[in-house]
């Protein structure tokens, strides 16, 4: 059916040599491989792709027309170019491994809904030059065959490695989207069922009436053929009612189901909402079920079943509608025969899901697409950066642009994510669901598969990229339950499934399908049987035997890999998600879009040093065994506990970090989104989130080009890079740049004096890079001031652009300059002079080298960043080293302490007097930041430190 299918192997390398990882080694995720492999040409493989950029494709396997593409994200025909979406849809839909039983399984009287977990597959098409992460999911549709509609979402990229390395994160992001879609779908399905049930009830009542009439009309004890027919029809309807009621029960049991999919963590709020809704429905129809005397309308009324049909078309209570009021639903008479005809119009994806959920999902996918823009190197660097920064939370405020993840850093992979804005829901819900303070029961349920053997297998993948893209191999799921699908996949050679995870999922599905009514016990059947494993391996792919034969050993030996991958992914995920939130909430879709598109360019600009890194990374990516030992040293836990370790993290965010639950609000009202936490907490969280709002765009580099540095404007990465250019120019132009930078870094306010506003502003923007702790929106920087300043201003601003005017105002300004000259350094841009204390240190020579060879602003920016980061790290060390601030013995006086501190600064850190001042200032900032009460600022005025030293005048 499909020609030349590709196989993309997703296996794990054996790690026989990895017995005892060095506990002191740098975590692999932070290290950069030194030399690139010669043959890893990054451009070799992507040249023949027919599309230029990665995109997301949503396809459906329509029961009427077969596989068809539904939409792409971004929704732009240019994106896919000449790429054949229809063909590709066919490809991706043909590898659906969701094991779905439809219809009546043996032994059960009613039709069963198949609760299937999503499946994740990586698929390649070498001819098209396309590789895709494919996420299959199933939505429910009462009118569809088996009540299911298979869909899939695919992330299509020309870079295979990108997909492979980002697999975990892609999987996470798409799982979230899928969960969102499915939640919406379940609600819609429940509504549909309800409608159907109403129709059926109505039909039944009509039939009952008719039957009664028939019976009265006919002679006693004798039934006419017509009456018998009516009775049969009635029986059919009743059966149908029972079936639908059962369906309703099934669908409402869904949230309580144990989930096998570690990514399938639903937002507890949604869940409660759904649950309460379902319960309502269930209650309604359960009471409905018992009395069969629905013959008289009046009786119906009395029983309080107002929502059943009323012939007069009276208004009904539509509390079951939950979301919006609508005119009463007029039940229709239903033909006895269930309508499953093929000429009917199938519901669209929008119709299948709640509108809210659909849009939320699309937004989520858009974000996903956005966050995966750029090539692998870029993504990887960003991840490293993020990971490092997360480790340095205390000092990040100094020089790093804020990631804004302070709150959810631990949320990690399994943070329950809800794409739907609850604020909106709440405002329209007539019965807002109760806020659940402890959703643990549910979550514990969901996390039931703590069964040590099972989840491990889900995460044990590694890229096997030695295999060429054209080579076809099949990595099968070695579970007997999925044998069928496996074989079918073999038959179609539809490329490959993400082996073990698939296995886990398939297991889950199967077990769920078969023992849905049983309590969720860790069934031994669920654990992959090694024998089966090898058997199947032998059958399906001869080449992979040795890999998979060692599966069980590998399980114990090399399972740190997936965890580190997961971690990286999760960390990255957070950041990205946040970024996108920020972007979106800033309401500048257009701008950010544009900027995001230009990001690769930025990347390209990075000079050769970075290219080295890029090569290195590609090298790392192309050699499979460099990946597996990622994070070994930092995670020397037994393999099984690894995944388990992650799961509890999923619980934490439920209580604490849920604040970010709905990033989709255009007008964020975070207070409403906090179902948990004490009020004080809420406040701080709100502020934190606000903060993240304003900083997010910083990390993606959206540029408000027009907005100057200063209040209201977020200092974005792009601006910072531009500032890097300016700073480089400054450093090259002025020999006293060293002194100026030292002033800024040691906390002495620098006043940039000049008559030309543009010049001063540019200089201020450039120098703002060096202001420690500039604040989220650059609060410590005043780009342009044209009135005299006071001491309070000096306290508030660390860098001031001051207008030189020849007027009385100007003279009073100059008076204030001279009056406060002891607190400031004055950089005169017109006369090119600097007045400040002398600097004799060595530390800054590195970044303020007059004759630097760095030519590019972005390079210089990164160079500065690295220097400043190391400074911040030193300051951190200094601040939190106990014996430098506290006496070691009770008899030790302050002199000993002072001497120790000095010797630490001078000998251990190798800093001279002036450099020590920088460190002391940074340390002071860190201390203040740490001591700052979490809720708002302190009541006390901020401190302003200074020292009395003589200033000198530097000239060019």
């Amino acid at each position: 059916m499909i020609g030349s299918p590709d196989l993309v192997a997703f296996t794990k390398e054996d790690e026989y040599g990895e017995a005892s990882p060095d506990p002191w080694a740098l975590p692999e995720e932070f290290s950069v491989p030194l030399y690139p492999l010669a043959d890893s040409n990054p451009w070799a493989k992507t040249s023949y792709a027919k599309f230029t950029k990665d995109f997301i494709l949503i396809s459906e396997f329509s029961e009427q027309v077969g596989p068809q593409p539904l939409l792409t994200i971004p929704d732009d025909p240019k994106v896919c170019g000449t790429f054949d979406l229809n063909y590709f849809s066919l490809r991706i839909m043909s590898v659906d491994y969701q094991a779905s039983f439809v219809g009546h399984p043996p032994g059960s009287g009613y039709p069963r809904l198949s609760f299937v977990e999503d499946s994740r597959v990586v698929l390649g098409d070498s001819k098209e030059g396309a590789f895709a992460y494919v996420h299959h999911l199933t939505l429910y549709d009462l009118e569809a065959r088996g009540f299911v509609r298979p869909f899939c979402m695919a992330y299509v990229s020309a870079d295979e490695r990108k997909i492979m390395l980002q697999f975990q994160e892609l999987s996470l992001r798409f799982s979230q989207a899928s969960e969102c879609l499915k939640t919406g779908n379940r609600r819609a399905f429940a509504k549909e069922l309800q409608r159907k049930l109403r129709d059926l009830e109505y039909t039944r009542s009509v039939l009952q009436k008719e039957e009664g009439l028939q019976r009265e009309a006919g002679p006693q004890g004798i039934y006419s053929a017509h009456a018998v027919e009516k009775a049969n029809e009635l029986a059919n309807v009743e059966k149908s009612i029972f079936e639908h009621r059962d369906l309703l029960r099934q669908i409402s049991s869904y949230p309580r189901r144990p989930r096998r999919d570690p990514h399938a963590v639903t937002c507890p709020k949604c869940m409660t909402e759904c649950l309460s809704e379902y319960e309502e429905l269930l209650d309604k129809y359960a009471t409905f079920a018992s009395p069969l005397n629905y013959t008289e309308k009046g009786e119906r009324r009395e029983e309080g079943e107002g929502q059943t049909c009323e012939e007069g078309g009276e208004e009904e209570d539509d509390d079951e509608e939950g979301v919006k009021r609508r005119p009463s639903y007029i039940p229709q008479l239903i033909k006895a025969k269930s309508a499953k005809c093929f000429d009917k119009r199938l519901k669209t994806l929008q119709e299948l899901c709640d509108e809210t959920y659909y849009t939320a999902t699309v937004e989520l996918l858009k974000e996903t697409e956005r966050s995966f823009r750029g090539d692998l190197c870029y993504l990887h660097t960003r991840r490293l950066d993020g990971a490092l920064r997360r480790k340095q939370k205390v000092t990040n405020f100094l020089f790093e642009e804020d990631l804004g993840e302070d709150d959810e850093e631990d949320g990690g992979t399994l943070r329950p994510f809800c794409a739907v804005n609850h604020a909106v829901d709440n405002s329209t819900l007539t019965h807002p669901p109760p806020i659940v303070l402890c959703p643990e029961p549910l979550e514990l349920d969901a996390l039931e598969p703590l069964d040590p053997l099972e989840p491990v297998s889900e995460t044990s993948h590694t890229l096997e990229s030695e295999l060429g893209p054209g080579e076809s191999q099949l990595e099968s799921s070695p579970s007997d339950q999925t044998l069928e699908t496996q074989e079918s996949s073999e038959a179609t050679k539809g490329s490959f499934s993400s082996e073990k995870s698939m296995e886990g999922h398939a297991d889950g599905e199967q077990s769920l399908a078969s023992m849905r009514s049983e309590p969720p016990d860790p069934d031994p059947d669920l654990t992959p049987d090694p024998e089966h494993n090898t058997d199947l391996e032998r059958e399906s792919s001869s080449e992979e035997v040795e890999t998979t034969a060692g599966e069980d050993e590998a399980d114990t030996g090399g399972d740190q890999t997936p965890v580190s991958l997961l971690e990286g992914a999760s960390e990255l995920e957070d950041g990205k998600q946040e970024e996108c939130e920020g972007q979106r909430e800033s309401g500048r879709e257009g701008v950010t879009e544009e900027v995001c598109e230009t990001e690769p360019e930025l990347l390209v600009q990075i000079d050769t040093a970075c290219c080295m890194a890029q090569d290195g990374f590609l090298y790392e990516a192309s050699v499979p065994d460099s990946v597996p030992d990622v994070g070994h040293s930092s995670h020397p836990q037994p393999p099984h506990s690894l995944v388990v370790n992650q799961e509890p993290q999923a619980l934490l965010p439920l209580q604490g970090d849920y604040a970010v639950g709905s990033p989709h609000s255009e007008s964020p009202t975070p207070g409403l989104e906090l179902p948990v936490g004490p009020p004080g907490d809420t406040v701080s969280r709100c502020s934190a989130e606000d903060g993240s709002d304003c900083t997010m765009s910083a990390s993606t580099g959206s540029d408000r080009a027009a907005s100057p540095l200063g209040y209201g404007g977020v200092v974005t990465l792009r601006q910072r890079k531009k500032a890097g250019q300016g700073a480089l120019r400054f450093v090259r132009q002025y020999p006293f740049a060293l002194q100026a930078l030292w002033c800024l870094l040691s906390g002495r306010t620098l006043v940039v004096l000049g008559a030309d506003e543009g010049r001063v502003r540019r200089l201020v923007a450039a120098l703002a890079l060096f202001v420690p702790g500039p604040g989220r929106c650059g609060e410590r920087v005043q780009a342009w001031l044209s009135c005299p300043f006071t001491l309070t201003d000096l306290q508030r601003w660390k860098l001031i652009g001051l207008q030189r005017v020849a007027s009385p105002v100007g003279s009073s300004m100059l008076y204030s300059l001279s009056r406060y000259s002891r607190y400031i350094a004055i950089l005169d841009t017109d006369q090119k002079t600097l007045r400040c204390p002398p600097y004799r240190g060595q530390l800054l020579a590195n970044i303020a080298d007059h004759r630097t060879y760095i030519r590019r602003g972005s390079t210089y920016f990164l160079h500065v960043q690295s220097t400043l980061s190391s400074l911040a790290a030193k300051a951190f060390l200094f601040t939190f080293t106990h014996h430098l601030h506290m006496p070691v013995t009770s008899t030790e006086g302050p002199e000993g302490l002072e001497a120790r501190r000095r010797s630490f600064l001078q000998e251990q850190l190798g800093l001279r007097e002036e450099d020590s001042q920088i460190l002391l200032y940074l340390s002071q900032l860190i201390t203040q930041q740490y001591l700052q009460p979490a809720t708002g600022g302190s009541a006390a005025a901020p401190c302003f430190s200074f020292n009395y030293t003589t200033s000198f005048l530097y000239k060019i």
Binding site: S816, M886, T927, C943, F944, Y948, T950
Partner: protein, 457 residues
């Protein structure tokens, strides 16, 4: 120094214009390396008073009395009792049993007196909820005349309010006696039984056997040639007064004799400037004694924009500096026997140290004073170096540091020792000057404490 900023075309900066010496930016002895700006007042802040070892109250023309925590810089209380500017403020500490009550007595030109009590609980509980805890009770009195000054006689547990009328109150804030004053401007300063009241009148406060108090006029201090500007009690037997034209008189409190008379007369000694000096004779305001402080051994007089240290023991001038500030000195303080501090209308606070003169040279600063017991002479005899030789006890007043922060005149300051210094100014601000190193050490302690609390140590 800063002419380069001005581009050579603008006016000179104040520093350059002034003949007063400038210490420059290198101030190794100045340990005030951190400041906090305390905002809260809406008008000139005129008074500062120390409540206990960590609180102080500030009052000003906006009628507000604000209580501050000096350690943290937090505003603890805001007392709004007066509708007009505050004319006097003092604390009244009363020990009854083991509890100590401090009352803050304020007088305002809205003709009211108000008394706010502070209980001395543990400092830290106060720190924590000081904001909520207002003064326990706030009593208000209406007086007939505007009270210009307040004086607490702790040994008698009474306090006096002076102005157009003189009232004596006891610790329960009941009016003991009252007397019409014949002059409307004045300052009462005295202690037990003696109540010299400017201008020129001393009252005796007698405690009769039935513990009722009476105030009797004792004597007019008529030896001053001009208005008495400052009056200070040195010890039980001595008090000192200073007049507008620079006369400093040391009085015997029991005999009402003048023990020493000093007419401070700044005079330029340089020959080349003599002509100018003659032309523009020193204005009285330049010689007016604005403020007197004493520590029992020395009297520090703020004379015009200069400082003048007088030893009570030797009844001689110890040190002086004519142009200690650019403008009038408003408040002074003796930190120790050799260190003093002054604040001025020029917006700065300066710290001085009395150093022995490097012999035999005369300090660079020009100056002259005439000193005769009971003599009044502006006669000048001999060059200043000769003077120095004549008075070997003379020491030099060396500027060790200055605090620049206020943009208006510094009205007053209160020192909390190592904890810092509070200054108040016409620019509506208070500035809390602290030792940066000490503060940074305290912050480090707090940091590790918090780490420990968080269990991360």
């Amino acid at each position: 120094m800063l002419r380069w900023i001005l581009g050579g075309r603008d006016a000179q900066s104040a520093v350059e214009k002034s003949p007063v010496l400038c210490i420059g930016e290198e101030q190794p002895k100045n340990w005030f390396t951190e400041l906090q700006v305390l905002k809260g007042h809406f008008d000139i802040v005129r008074f500062l008073v120390q409540i206990d070892d960590f609180r102080c109250a500030s009052a000003g023309d906006d009628g507000l009395v604000l209580v501050w925590n000096v350690e943290t810089g937090e505003k603890l209380q805001e007392l709004r009792g007066h509708s007009q500017q505050i004319t006097a403020i003092t604390t009244f500490t009363c020990v009854s049993g083991d509890t100590q009550h401090t009352s803050l007595i304020t007088a305002s030109s809205d003709r009211t007196l108000s008394v706010s009590s502070f209980s001395h609980k543990h400092k830290h509980t106060l720190c924590r909820d000081g904001r909520q805890q207002g003064p326990r009770d706030m009593t208000r009195f209406t007086t007939l005349a505007i009270v210009k000054c307040l004086l607490v006689l702790e040994r008698l547990c009474v306090w006096l309010s002076g102005g157009d009328e003189l009232c004596v109150w006891n610790k329960d804030f009941q009016l003991q006696c009252q007397r019409q004053n014949h002059s409307d401007t004045g300052e009462h300063k005295q202690e037990e039984q003696l109540l010299p009241c400017a201008p020129d009148i001393i009252y005796r406060l007698t405690v009769s056997s039935d513990s009722s108090l009476s105030v009797a006029e004792i004597r007019c201090l008529s030896d001053h040639q001009d208005n008495i500007r400052a009056l200070i009690n040195v010890n039980d037997g001595l008090f000192a007064s200073g007049s507008h034209i620079g006369e400093l008189i040391l009085w015997d409190a029991t005999e009402w004799n003048i023990l020493a008379y000093e007419h401070i007369l700044w005079e330029e000694s340089q020959a080349d400037t003599q002509a100018e000096i003659r032309l523009g004779a020193p204005k009285p305001s330049e010689m007016s004694i604005q403020h007197l402080t004493t520590n029992g051994k020395l009297i520090l007089a703020a004379v015009g924009s200069g400082l003048y240290v007088y030893s009570i023991l030797t009844k001689t001038v110890v040190a002086y500096r004519k142009t200690a500030h650019d403008s009038n000195v408003l408040h002074t303080m003796l930190l120790s026997d050799s260190e003093l501090m002054s604040c001025s209308e020029d917006g700065s606070v300066r710290m001085w140290e009395m150093q022995d003169l490097p012999l035999p040279a005369e300090p660079a600063s020009p100056g002259f004073f005439g000193m005769w017991s009971f003599g009044r002479s502006s006669k000048q005899t001999g060059p200043p170096s000769k003077k120095v030789m004549e008075m070997p006890s003379l020491r030099m007043l060396e500027l060790t540091g200055d605090l620049i922060g206020h943009s208006g005149a510094v009205q007053m300051f209160v020192s909390f020792g190592a904890k810092g210094l509070v200054t108040c100014s016409t620019d509506h601000l208070l500035i809390l000057w602290k030792n940066g190193e000490r503060q940074s050490h305290l912050r480090s302690l707090a940091l590790f404490q918090k780490l420990e609390e968080n269990g991360r140590l």
